[in-house]
C-alpha cells in the first residue's frame, strides 16, 4: 500500500482508469439507446401507419440527448486526464521527499506538470548557493541562475519556491534590485522574465508567498508614488468588461486608457480576447511589441492610496476598491514597460499598437474632416484624439490651463480622448469624445463638439 499526503496512489490510479473508460462506454450506450428507439419508432409506424408522436412513442430525440450520458461522454475524459496529471505530479513530489522537500496535500496534488528531479535539484543548489552570497555578489550570482530557473516547468518552479524559506525569498528579492555604480545588476528584461515565470507557473499557495515576499517582481512605482502599499483587488470580471469601467487614476496614462476604450468601442469582446484570469489568482494580458505578441502575467495587487486604488479603477458603482480588470490591465502594461512611471505620457497610436500589434497612425487633427473621421469609425477603426495645451494671457503673462470650457463641456489640456462617434446629420455636425477620467473625474465623461470647436481644441488624431 502506498499512501502520500492523504492519497492512496494505487486507488487513485484505479479510479482514474475507471473514469477514463467511462466516456467511451457512455457514448456507446447512448448510441445503442438511440438506435433501439429509432427501430421501435419504425415498427410503430409500419404497424399502424400512425405517427410515433400520435402513439406517444416519439422519445428518440430525448433519449438521443440523454443529458446524463452526454455529460459523462463529454466531460469525464477531461477529468480523467486532469486526475492523471495531478497524480503524476503527486508521485514526483513524493520522490522529492528523500531530498528534503516537503509538500502539503494541496501542493502535491496540484494540476502541474511532473517534476524532473535532477533538473530541480540542480536549479535549487545553484539558487541556494547564489542566495548565500552578500551584496552585489549575490545579485551577480542570482543573475547567473535565472536562465536555469526559466528552464524549469511549472511543477518544478512551484517545488523550488516551496522549498525556499521566507528569508531566502527576501534575499532573492534583494538581489533583483542590486546595483553597482548606480546601475541595476539584473537587467529589466530579466526581472520581467522572472516575474512572468513565477506568476504564471506557481500554484496559488506559493504565488501568495512571492506576492508577500518579493515586491521587486511588481512593476516599479515612480518617485511620486513610491511607498504606496499594494492591495489585492477582488477578482476582476473580465467577461463583463465595459467602457464605463475605465476610470483614470493619478497616473498620466490617458493615452493608454483612451486606446483600450477605442478598441472596446470597435470590439466589445476586446478585453476577454486579450486577458485571462488564471487559477492561481494571477492574470495574463497579451500585448504586442514590434507587432509580435508578448504575454505578461501579474497578480491582482495594485497600488493603494488609503483604501482606494491609486491608479486606474473600475466601475464607480463598486467604489474605487472594487473589482477592476482595468487596474490589472494597466498594471500588466506598466510591468511590460518597466514601471508605472514608464507609461506616463504618450499618444493613442502608441497605445493601440501595443494593444493590438496593428500599425496605427498619428495625424494632425486638421488633416481629417468629420467626414473622414466618420468614415474611419464606420469601417470599425478605433480612434483617439489628443487635446492642445490651453493657455491664457499673452507672452510673459501667459500661463497654462489644466482645462478649458467649450460650450457646456470641459476640455482637459494635453489629454487623450476616445473618439466615440460623429453625427454628420446634426446642424452643425458634431463629434462625441470620451474622457478616460470617466464618470468620477470631476468633468464630463462625454463631450460633444462642432468641427470648429474640435479643431480649435484638439491637435492630434490617432487612427488604429
Amino acid at each position: 500500500m502506498t499512501s502520500y499526503c492523504g492519497f492512496h496512489l494505487e486507488k487513485v490510479q484505479q479510479l482514474q482508469r475507471a473514469l477514463a473508460a467511462s466516456p467511451g462506454a457512455a457514448s456507446s450506450l447512448a448510441a445503442d439507446i438511440r438506435n433501439a428507439a429509432q427501430r421501435a419508432e419504425w415498427i410503430s409506424v409500419s404497424a399502424t401507419g400512425v405517427s410515433p408522436h400520435q402513439l406517444g412513442l416519439d422519445r428518440s430525440d430525448a433519449v438521443s440527448t440523454l443529458p446524463g450520458l452526454t455529460a459523462v461522454a463529454q466531460q469525464a475524459g477531461d477529468t480523467a486526464a486532469e486526475v492523471q496529471r495531478r497524480l503524476d505530479h503527486l508521485r514526483s513530489c513524493r520522490s522529492l521527499v528523500a531530498h528534503g522537500f516537503t509538500f502539503t496535500a494541496e501542493e502535491a496534488f496540484q494540476d502541474l506538470p511532473a517534476i524532473d528531479t535532477a533538473r530541480l535539484l540542480a536549479a535549487k543548489a545553484s539558487l541556494v548557493d547564489a542566495l548565500a552570497e552578500d551584496g552585489p555578489a549575490r545579485a551577480f550570482a542570482v543573475l547567473g541562475v535565472l536562465d536555469q530557473v526559466h528552464g524549469l516547468n511549472a511543477g518544478e518552479t512551484d517545488a523550488l519556491v516551496g522549498s525556499l524559506s521566507d528569508d531566502q525569498l527576501k534575499a532573492w528579492d534583494d538581489a533583483l534590485h542590486g546595483q553597482v555604480l548606480g546601475m541595476p545588476i539584473v537587467p529589466e528584461a530579466a526581472r520581467l522574465q522572472l516575474a512572468n515565470d513565477l506568476f504564471s507557473r506557481l500554484g496559488e499557495e506559493q504565488r501568495i508567498r512571492i506576492t508577500a515576499s518579493m515586491p521587486t517582481l511588481q512593476p516599479p512605482l515612480d518617485d511620486d508614488h513610491r511607498g504606496h502599499p499594494l492591495g489585492m483587488l477582488p477578482p476582476a470580471d473580465i467577461d463583463g468588461a465595459k467602457l464605463e469601467d475605465i476610470n483614470q487614476g493619478e497616473l498620466g496614462d490617458c493615452w493608454f486608457l483612451a486606446s483600450i476604450a477605442a478598441e472596446m468601442r470597435v470590439d466589445p469582446a476586446f478585453v476577454r480576447k486579450h486577458m485571462v484570469a488564471n487559477d492561481n489568482g494571477t492574470y495574463t494580458v497579451t500585448f504586442y511589441r514590434d507587432g509580435k505578441p508578448v504575454q505578461v502575467t501579474v497578480d491582482g495587487s495594485v497600488p493603494r492610496d488609503g483604501t482606494s486604488a491609486e491608479f486606474a479603477h473600475g466601475d464607480p458603482g463598486w467604489g474605487s476598491d472594487g473589482p477592476s480588470w482595468i487596474a490589472v490591465y494597466e498594471k500588466a502594461f506598466a510591468q511590460l514597460k518597466g514601471g508605472y512611471g514608464d507609461i506616463e505620457g504618450g499618444f493613442g497610436d502608441q497605445g493601440m499598437e501595443a494593444l493590438t500589434g496593428r500599425n496605427a497612425d498619428r495625424h494632425d487633427s486638421d488633416d481629417l474632416s468629420f467626414a473622414d473621421i466618420a468614415h474611419h469609425l464606420d469601417e470599425g477603426t478605433p480612434m483617439t484624439a489628443g487635446s492642445k495645451q490651453h493657455t491664457t494671457g499673452h507672452l510673459w503673462w501667459s500661463h497654462d490651463e489644466e482645462k478649458v470650457e467649450v460650450g457646456d463641456d470641459t476640455v482637459v489640456s494635453l489629454h487623450e480622448y476616445t473618439v466615440v462617434d460623429v453625427d454628420l446629420g446634426a446642424h452643425p455636425p458634431t463629434v462625441r469624445l470620451r474622457n478616460p477620467w470617466g464618470s468620477n473625474g470631476g468633468v464630463d465623461e462625454f463631450i460633444t463638439m462642432t468641427e470648429d470647436e474640435f479643431h480649435d481644441h484638439f491637435n492630434e488624431l490617432s487612427v488604429g
Partner: protein
C-alpha cells in the same frame, strides 16, 4: 398504406418486446456506469479540496445517469405496452374462414 397482416403484427410485437428487454438491460448498465469510480471515490482513496470538488462532479454525473436509466426504463415499459396492443390488434383481425 395497407393494413399489416396478423402475422406481421405479431412479429412486430415480438421485436418490440425484445427491444424493451435490451433497453431495460441498458438502463441497468447506465445506472451502474460509474460504479467503478464511485466505489473508490472516498476518504480511503483521496482527501482534500480537489477530491471534494471531484466528488461533487462525479455525483452530478451519477444523478444524470440515474435519470437516463429511468428514461430507458420508461421507454421499455411503453414498448411492452405497445407490443401488447399489437397482439390485441392481430387477434382482432378477421380470421380466414
Amino acid at each position: 398504406m395497407s393494413e399489416p397482416s396478423a402475422a406481421l403484427l405479431r412479429a412486430y410485437a415480438e421485436e418490440l418486446r425484445e427491444l424493451a428487454r435490451a433497453q431495460a438491460d441498458r438502463a441497468a448498465t447506465c445506472a451502474t456506469l460509474l460504479d467503478g469510480v464511485t466505489r473508490l471515490d472516498d476518504d480511503h482513496t483521496w482527501q482534500g479540496t480537489y477530491p471534494d470538488e471531484a466528488h461533487a462532479t462525479i455525483h452530478g454525473w451519477v444523478r444524470g445517469l440515474a435519470a437516463a436509466a429511468r428514461s430507458c426504463h420508461d421507454q421499455a415499459a411503453s414498448w411492452r405496452a405497445r407490443a401488447a396492443d399489437l397482439d390485441r390488434q392481430a387477434d382482432a383481425l378477421p380470421k380466414p374462414t
